[in-house]
């Protein structure tokens, strides 16, 4: 009897292999294990056996039944999976296709770099200050130690609105405003738009961006200024960069300096970008002139400080190798979308 059952199982195993669909499988199941099946007949005939024989054959028969069930189970799963796979295959689509495409917009590169710098300075404890672009002559010039008819006014071509009002030529206009508003100690940067009355060409814009910084505290000296500026430069370029400091003249600082960096384009060998000097002007600065501190309602005997200015537009041009300064204000999406 056991032989018969084993034979049956073998038969089923052979039959099941070739089955291709669930219906056939279920039919076979009914045929082999259903009520009217041979298997069931054999099991039913167990009752005719003796108790000893029952004890011996019963478990074996059960085990075989279980095994057969298992074979069916795994075949069922196999067929189901196959079915799903077929469905899935039909679902395949081209995911590289653009449907209802929505592009992200872009920031102007000036804004991008400005925000980057703001984060650097905030990390060093600088606040961000903002102020008027249409400014009083007083804040743009006079309070900065540049009286009317001072030759230094030649250095900047100014848009005048009237005798008292100008479009600011430099973000330095906020030095005295910041001192008056916050007092000392003070650590601020003032990024923003400035204006020069110039004709436009690839190198000249009447509208561009600067970032000014001022630190006022007790006992601030040149050594602090140079150290801080080197730190700032290494942060801006994200690496150590060779710098040199030389004298520079700005009426609102004394002493006044210019910080140059080794030309990032030629590495110092000399090229058109650095006018063959190997150096690029990047950061003018100096110790705040006592007259300016006084104008800021602070006592120059008690407080000293340093100021620096960064040509934001120039820095962005350097960073990305942009050769036409007019691109920034052009609104041309072929330019903006690259950033």
């Amino acid at each position: 009897m056991v032989e018969k059952l084993k034979k049956l199982k073998e038969n089923i195993e052979n039959q099941i292999k070739d089955l291709k669909n669930k219906e056939d499988l279920e039919a076979l199941y009914k045929e082999t294990l259903g009520k009217k099946s041979d298997f069931n007949k054999i099991l039913r005939s167990l009752s005719d056996l003796s108790i000893e024989e029952k004890k011996e054959i019963g478990p074996i028969a059960n085990e075989i039944k279980n095994e057969i069930n298992k074979i069916f189970g795994s075949k069922r799963l196999e067929l189901e999976n196959e079915e799903i796979n077929i469905k899935l295959k039909k679902d395949k689509i081209d995911l590289t296709l653009d449907i209802n495409k929505e592009e992200a917009g872009s920031l102007n590169p000036i804004t991008k770099i400005q925000y980057e710098l703001e984060e650097i300075f905030k990390g060093m404890g600088f606040a961000i200050y903002d102020g008027p672009e249409l400014e009083l002559d007083y804040y743009n010039f006079e309070s900065l130690n540049i009286p009317k008819h001072h030759p230094a006014r030649d250095m900047q071509d100014t848009f005048y609105i009237n005798k008292e009002q100008v479009l600011r030529t430099q973000t330095s206009n906020l030095q005295v405003r910041a001192m008056r508003e916050f007092g000392a100690p003070l650590k601020v940067i003032m990024p923003g738009k400035v204006y020069r009355n110039e004709d436009l060409d690839a190198c000249h814009e009447h509208t561009f961006h600067q970032l000014e910084g001022v630190v006022i505290d007790k006992n601030i000296n040149l050594s602090h200024l140079i150290s801080t500026m080197n730190l700032v430069i290494s942060k801006i370029f994200n690496r150590e960069i060779e710098t040199r400091v030389r004298p520079g003249y700005f009426p609102f600082v004394e002493p006044g300096i210019e910080i140059d960096i080794k030309c990032t384009i030629c590495g110092g060998k000399g090229c058109p970008s650095c006018k063959n000097t190997g150096w690029l002007e990047i950061l003018p600065g100096g110790l705040v002139h006592p007259n300016v501190i006084k104008a800021g309602d602070l006592d120059p005997e008690e407080y000293s400080g340093f100021a620096f200015g960064l040509g934001l537009t120039r820095l962005v041009m350097m960073r990305y190798g942009i050769s036409d300064i007019r691109d920034f204000m052009s609104g041309d999406l072929r330019f903006i979308k690259q950033f």
Binding site: L134, L167, H206, H224, P255
Partner: protein, 820 residues
């Protein structure tokens, strides 16, 4: 300003181990900015003196000759002709045997026919005859100003050789050496010496070099001279405060002619054009000492000279042939009859020297810098003299320049010049120095380095300051030529720091108290909104703060509404804008050919004199945010931009409403324009661009824009916009409703009416609006979905229905709405 190193070497013996480039670099690091260093020798590389030994006609060209030129010194190197000469084909019409000429050998740089850029000479064949170089005209080697010659002639050096026995004009000599042009020129950035009147001269720069390299500087040689014991000249200063020093003298027996070679050469090296001996010498002395000088033809000027303010409507024709109208703010030099010069700026044409001049008046003066500057900017005339005077020169310099001129004039004159008695008016204390006292630790405190007494004294002494000590104090005597820029202690600190070298100062990190930084909410919000906008596909496109007259016409803006720029250089910058939208429309126009979908935004200041402003004494200039949406053939551009607008307000939970616009600007669509309101305040507008503007600009599709006052927006963002309420966790449900209302009823009104019906209406969303004949004229159907929630207990369907009916009732009552 150009500085010649050879000239500097007249004052300082520079050791051989210091190269011209070293000097340039150190000047940059310690004193001034140098724009360019020019090695003249390089300009004249591979150019030698040659002697023409043989001239033959070119067999194949009528106008050309084949010359055998001897360059003796280089015998054996260039054996490319006959008899140790080199063969050169030349077209010069003044060639002669035995003539000394400038020969450009292969590798030399010349200007072809004296025009264009310098190009390299190569060996060549000219009509089948080999030519191993070029015999040059003065134009071709940039020396025309020194050696003016006729067209077609080559430079004949025989005369120069005859007149200047000191020059080594022999075959084979390097041209630059033979003509003493082997100089090194520094082009100094004038802006970097704005504050240093003393540096506007060779001697001034030499003083700096002597301090930087610790080298001795020689005194300028000023030789005494004899004067006659009379003069017919009288001088009179009417404005003492504008003229500190006026020295003038009549010099008789002048012979006006071409300057000697050395003088022309010096001016050429400084990029100046020689004119005649009298004028050239004045310029030369100015470049040497910094003192501008002027010469009048004494025969054309009356005996009395006044230094006075001009009278209204006085006129002068200047040396550069310009007629200038003068006014009483301008200082002039006049004789008894009329102005003869604009003081310190430019001379008059009538009183200038000419070939008939027999005697001159030499003027060496000192004028007030501010006055010169005002006049020079008023007349828009800037000269080498005014550039120096406006920096306020040392009045002691007049004498130095004056004597130098007379000494040199005597040297170069063949005639026996006679110097009349000198007229000199001084309104200043001669050789008066200044004193600055400085606490010893002040210098160290400002620089951040401990200098010793010796170091400080050493640096200051090199700069010609005198230093003495008194307890803890330095007493520093400032030389007269530095009084203009050394006025306070900090100025002395700069002197020490720069001569010591900024790069030698050890860096000290800045430590300061930890203070929370002042928050800038506007900038925080600006960043946030910009990020949202770029997330929505909008691009930050900057536009100018200016509008042009053309813009005003195009966009129909009234001129009187705008702030005007007083002195615009460009026509594009005549007015300040009071909105960003126009700038964005212009930016749209730039992109419309390249893009089908254009989304732009900008946050910038706009200017308006009529609005209230937060900065004292200044017009309104708040930041605005402007957004523009254009999609080719897009019907709903305005609704797309409206969604962006509402998204922005929603991120800050600012509640606002729309209100019909009263005064729509001419460039906006009057029927598709609405104001954005918070409380009673208009904060901006949402609109389409006016179709007539679009058609003028040839834009075929509608353009949606909004612009808001970003600073108002920021103010409202700071208010308490979020009030948290415990929310009901009971499931919400939905119902639709469709009603017919008069067309003029807008959605905002309906929504508000629905909203106030019940606190259990949590969301209202419109999903369909249409009009047709069935509904009736002036009517529209509007369908929306309401979400019901916020219940304390699960509502029964009757509860929901009740709210629904209340909504309908309210709509019927308020708008005469009918259920559809």
């Amino acid at each position: 300003m150009y500085i010649s190193l050879n000239k500097i070497k007249q004052y300082i013996d520079i050791p051989e181990n210091i190269t011209p480039y070293d000097i340039g670099e150190k000047l940059t690091l310690h004193t001034v900015e140098i724009d360019e260093m020019i090695d003249k020798e390089k300009e004249f590389q591979n150019m030698v003196i040659g002697r023409i030994e043989k001239i033959e006609k070119h067999p194949n060209a009528d106008k050309l000759s084949v010359c055998q030129v001897s360059i003796e010194k280089n015998k054996g190197i260039f054996k490319k002709g006959s008899d140790n000469n080199i063969q050169i084909v030349c077209g010069g019409n003044n060639l002669e045997k035995g003539m000394y000429v400038a020969v450009a050998l292969p590798g030399a740089l010349v200007k072809w026919h004296g025009e264009g850029d310098f190009q390299e000479i190569k060996e060549s064949k000219i009509r089948d005859i080999k030519s191993f170089g070029m015999i040059c005209s003065s134009k071709e080697i940039g020396l025309f100003d020194i050696f003016p010659e006729e067209e077609g002639q080559i430079l004949n050096l025989n005369n120069i050789k005859k007149q200047n026995s000191n020059l080594k004009i022999n075959g084979g000599e390097k041209l630059s050496e033979a003509l003493e042009l082997n100089d090194f020129i520094y082009d100094i950035d004038n802006k970097s010496i704005t504050n240093r009147p003393d540096l506007w001269s060779h001697y001034g720069i030499a003083r700096e070099i002597s301090a930087i390299f610790n080298l001795k500087i020689k005194q300028l040689i000023l030789k005494p001279f004899k004067t006659l014991d009379y003069t017919q000249l009288k001088t009179n200063i009417e404005n003492d405060d504008l003229c500190q020093n006026y020295t003038a003298v009549v010099i008789e027996n002048i012979e006006l002619k071409e300057s000697p070679y050395w003088l022309k050469k010096e001016l050429y090296l400084l990029n100046q054009k020689p004119i005649n001996n009298i004028v050239d010498l004045a310029n030369y002395v100015m470049y040497e000492t910094g003192q501008p000088l002027h010469t009048f033809d004494a025969g054309k000027v009356s005996n009395k000279i006044y230094i006075r303010e001009a009278k209204e409507s006085e006129k002068i024709i200047t040396l550069d042939d310009k007629e200038e109208k003068l006014d009483n703010s301008m200082l002039i030099i006049a004789d008894s009859i009329k102005p003869i010069a604009i003081a310190g700026i430019i001379g008059g044409k009538d009183s200038g020297v000419s070939s008939y001049t027999k005697s001159i008046i030499l003027e060496s003066a000192n004028f007030d810098g501010i006055s010169i500057r005002k006049t020079s900017s008023k007349l828009n005339t800037r000269t080498e003299a005014s550039a120096r005077f406006e920096k306020q020169q040392d009045p002691n310099l007049c004498n130095i320049g004056f004597i130098r001129y007379i000494n040199l004039l005597s040297e170069i004159s063949d005639s026996n010049i006679k110097i009349q008695e000198i007229k000199n008016i001084k309104n200043f204390e001669e050789n008066e120095t200044g004193i600055i006292r400085i606490d010893k630790d002040f210098i160290n405190k400002k620089i951040g380095k401990d200098f010793t007494d010796k170091e400080i004294k050493n640096i200051l002494t090199k700069l010609k300051f005198e230093v003495s000590e008194n307890k803890n104090e330095y007493i520093i005597t400032i030389p007269t030529f530095r009084l203009e820029d050394i006025k306070i202690k900090e100025d002395v600190v700069e002197e020490i720091a720069r001569i010591y070298g900024y790069n030698n100062i050890k860096q000290t990190p800045l430590y300061s108290e930890i203070n929370p930084i002042i928050n800038n909410n506007l900038r925080r919000l600006e960043k946030k909104i910009k990020n949202i906008l770029i997330g929505c596909g909008y691009n930050e496109s900057f536009s100018y703060s200016f509008l042009s007259k053309k813009d005003l016409d195009l966009f129909e803006i009234k001129e009187e509404d705008l702030i005007k720029v007083k002195n615009p250089l460009s026509k594009d910058a005549e007015y300040l804008r009071d909105n960003i939208t126009i700038g964005q429309i212009k930016n749209l126009l730039k992109n419309i050919k390249n893009e089908k979908e254009i989304k732009l935004f900008e946050i910038s200041r706009v200017f308006d004199s009529k609005l209230k402003n937060k900065y004292k004494n200044l017009p309104y200039q708040n930041y605005h945010l402007s957004c523009l949406n254009f999609i080719e053939k897009g019907e709903n551009n305005i609704y797309k931009i409206k969604n962006i607008l509402e998204k922005i307000f929603d991120t800050e939970k600012i509640r606002f409403y729309y209100q019909n616009t009263k005064n729509v600007p001419n460039y906006l669509h009057p029927e598709r324009s609405i104001d954005i309101m918070i409380g009673q305040n208009k904060i901006g507008f949402l609109s389409e661009i006016h179709p007539k503007i679009l058609s003028k600009l040839k834009i075929k599709d509608r353009v949606g824009v909004f612009e808001i006052d970003f600073e108002f927006f920021e103010e409202f963002s700071k208010r308490k916009n979020i009030e948290y309420k415990e929310f009901s966790k009971i499931q919400e449900s939905n119902m639709d409703i469709s009603v017919v209302v008069k067309e003029k009823i807008n959605w905002q009104e309906i929504r508000e009416c629905v909203q106030k019906t019940s606190k259990n209406i949590t969301k209202i969303k419109v999903f369909d609006v249409f009009k047709n004949e069935k509904i009736g004229e002036d009517k529209k159907s509007i369908s929306f979905n309401m979400t019901f929630g916020n219940f304390n207990k699960t509502p029964k369907s009757e509860d929901i229905e009740k709210i629904w009916k209340d909504v309908l009732e309210n709509l019927k009552r308020e708008f005469d709405a009918k259920l559809r």
